[in-house]
């Protein structure tokens, strides 16, 4: 017989808990409220009138492709203010396979220092 109880169990994380079913119910309730509220406003909506036209402060509307904000422009302020970080990260990604191998050697050297020399040093102290 299929048991429903295991499916409805609250997930215990050790320090807290999480029940997605309650979350889903909350989302559905919020969605229903949104639909009802939308229903109130929808009566005012008139198709094919000025309501559906773009208004760009009186400026002419651009071509559709120009109206779309391109991927490169999204988060421009964030990436511009951290340009030095992103530039150094880009510089790190040379695309040269020799550099890829070099990073492997560097990581191996660090692991060697930490795991072997580090432990011997701690042991000596």
């Amino acid at each position: 017989m299929f048991a429903l109880e295991p499916l409805l169990e609250t997930f215990q994380t050790g320090s807290g808990f999480w029940n997605p079913i309650i979350w889903v119910v909350a989302i559905i309730v919020a969605f229903l409220i949104a639909v009802i509220l939308r229903g109130f406003g929808n009566k005012e909506y008139k198709k094919k009138t000025g309501q559906t036209q773009s208004f760009l402060s009186g400026n002419p509307e651009y071509e559709k492709e120009q109206m779309h904000i391109k991927s490169s422009n999204i988060y421009w302020g964030f990436t511009e203010s951290l340009k030095w970080v992103f530039d150094s990260l880009k510089k790190m990604h040379t695309g040269n396979v020799s550099d890829y191998a070099l990073w492997f050697v560097i990581v191996m050297a660090i692991l060697f220092i930490v795991l072997i020399m580090g432990e011997n040093l701690v042991g000596a102290i």
């Binding site: 499916l7 890829y100 492997f104 072997i116």
Partner: protein
């Protein structure tokens, strides 16, 4: 022979069959291709379907606490003869489930996605070889055999990354992949030789029982962690990954996610099983190494993702960031493992890390399939040139939203449950780690919201006026993964109790793994 006997027989031989079926299928595929393309596609799907059934059959038994061993060669372990031993515990079965699901979904997706391409007999042969290699890596209990399967996976993966030979960048990505894989594999082979020289053994359990943590063992540990971490795409050795993921066909990228995770499984198997007893003294340093690598991987992955404008390359960097979470979870488990006051925290971290392996495979996999669907429909991967596709590709848009929410760890998706476990446990180790992990998740959400806006929202672009929804086989593949994501998200307790916890326990209790081969072994609880 009745059905129960047949199932018992299949269960008994399943560790061998799981690798043998796709391997044999790979060699038969070119012959079947001569008959008919449709017959070949059905044959490949059935082969992987059979493999998946065997994996689930084996997993159903292994998750109850049993460990399966399968010996190729002499059954008498005392005899010094060449033999290969497969050893399947819950962790191996957990990884095999991920691999086989990804492979099966990839071939269903390929039916339409690769339809226009030539050389598909080779394509499907390589996919089956890659799957066999990946499953072999996860099921074997022999370190040299692990290396062999790693090589099978690497060679077939490199050929598949470069499958679109008419594109120079695909060939370049394939070349980079094989160079990096070969370097990594050579160092793994070197460490295998070190073990063999010292302990006259290649079997993981035998090495684990005999290991003394000598200077050579420490060098072997460094080589194994570094090489497998590079194959897993851990920062700063991740740079091959966006190249390979970005330029391979999307169906191949989906399986590549599985191969990356098979390498990550190798890191965990080495740290917890082979060095399970010997590592006690230095588990804190090894654990902290994984934690630090995890944090760097997370931050750099997400930072690089935010500035990408190529759809698949962006997801690839997102995948790098996700690998950081798994390392963070497992590393935290290793750090606190020996502290009796933090046993529960350690186990929660391990469960979070292991659950995230599966969640990442599904979430990132779904996003790659969506990227492939968009490429299929528009022949475009630059986000700067895409826009307004939600109008023409409604189902694909829904699948992308599911993938977006899941990969960013948004409730109620599966990614949230595993990340919640990681946040909570790492908070108890050090709150800063948890804060960085949450920050990275927020940035991942920002990254994929950018993709959603760039590709799906905005005005309908004239050049995409005639774009249509992708064929059914691609929708079925995406829908299958999306369904699993939602089920895992809604019932995390069920999944964790039945699949994840046995895997975490198997990894921690290395003694059980060793005792299956050497019954006299007394360590490792």
């Amino acid at each position: 022979m009745n059905v129960a006997d047949l199932i018992d027989l299949l269960l008994q031989h399943s560790p061998a069959l799981i690798v043998a079926v796709p391997l044999l299928g790979a060699f038969i595929t070119p012959l079947i291709s001569r008959l008919n393309d449709k017959v070949r596609n059905i044959f490949v799907i059935l082969t992987l379907g059979l493999t998946a059934s065997l994996v689930f059959l084996l997993a159903s038994d292994v998750f109850t606490g049993n460990i399966h061993t399968y010996i190729f060669g002499s059954q008498d372990l005392a005899l010094p003869v060449v033999r290969i031993l497969f050893e399947v515990d819950a962790m191996s079965a957990f990884m095999a489930i991920i691999s086989v699901i990804l492979s099966l979904v990839a071939v269903i997706y390929s039916w339409s996605f690769m339809k226009e391409n030539t050389g598909l007999d080779k394509y499907y042969t390589l996919i089956l070889l890659m799957t066999a290699g990946m499953l072999g890596m996860e099921l074997t209990g022999d370190l040299f055999n692990f290396f062999v399967f790693l090589e099978i996976t690497s060679i077939s993966s490199a050929a598949l990354v470069a499958f679109w030979t008419n594109k120079a960048k695909s060939v370049e990505a394939g070349f980079k992949y094989i160079v990096i894989s070969t370097i990594g594999a050579l160092f793994i082979l070197f460490s295998v030789a070190m073990f063999y020289g010292q302990y006259n053994a290649l079997n993981m359990a035998m090495i684990a029982s005999a290991i003394q943590y000598t200077f050579l063992d420490k060098i072997a540990l460094v080589l194994l962690i570094a090489a497998l971490a590079m194959k897993a795409g851990v920062v700063p050795m991740h740079m091959w990954l966006p190249d390979a993921y970005g330029k391979a066909p999307s169906s191949v990228t989906l399986i590549l996610v599985g191969t990356t995770q098979a390498s990550l499984y190798g890191v965990f198997r080495v740290c917890f099983t082979i060095y399970g007893g010997a590592i006690n003294l230095s588990s804190i340093s090894v654990g902290w190494i994984l934690v630090i690598l995890g944090i760097i991987t997370m931050l750099l992955g997400v930072a690089m993702a935010i500035i990408q404008t190529d759809f698949k390359r962006l997801i690839a960097f997102g995948a790098v960031a996700e690998i950081g979470y798994m390392l963070l979870g497992i590393g935290t488990g290793l750090v606190v493992m020996l502290n009796p006051e933090m046993t529960a925290t350690g186990l929660a971290a391990m469960k979070g890390g292991i659950f995230h392996i599966m969640n990442d495979a599904l979430d990132v996999g779904l996003l790659f399939l969506v990227a492939g669907a968009i490429y299929y429909a528009t022949k475009e991967t630059s986000l700067n040139k895409l826009g307004g596709l939600a109008r023409n590709m409604k189902y694909t848009t829904v699948f992308f939203i599911i993938g977006l929410l899941a990969v960013s760890g948004m409730p109620p998706m599966n990614g949230f449950a595993s990340k919640l476990l990681i946040y909570e446990s790492t908070y108890q180790l050090n709150p800063i780690l948890s804060i960085i992990a949450i920050l990275s998740s927020i940035m991942l959400l920002a990254v994929f919201v950018k993709v959603f806006h760039s590709a799906f929202l905005g005005p309908a672009l004239p050049k995409f006026e005639n774009v249509k929804e992708v064929p059914k086989s691609m929708l079925i593949a995406m829908g299958a993964i999306a369904t699993i994501i939602i089920i895992f998200g809604l019932f995390p307790e069920l999944i964790i109790n039945n699949i994840v916890e046995p895997a975490a326990n198997a990894l921690v209790n290395y003694g059980g793994y060793v005792r299956e081969v050497i019954p006299s072994f007394t360590g490792g609880v």
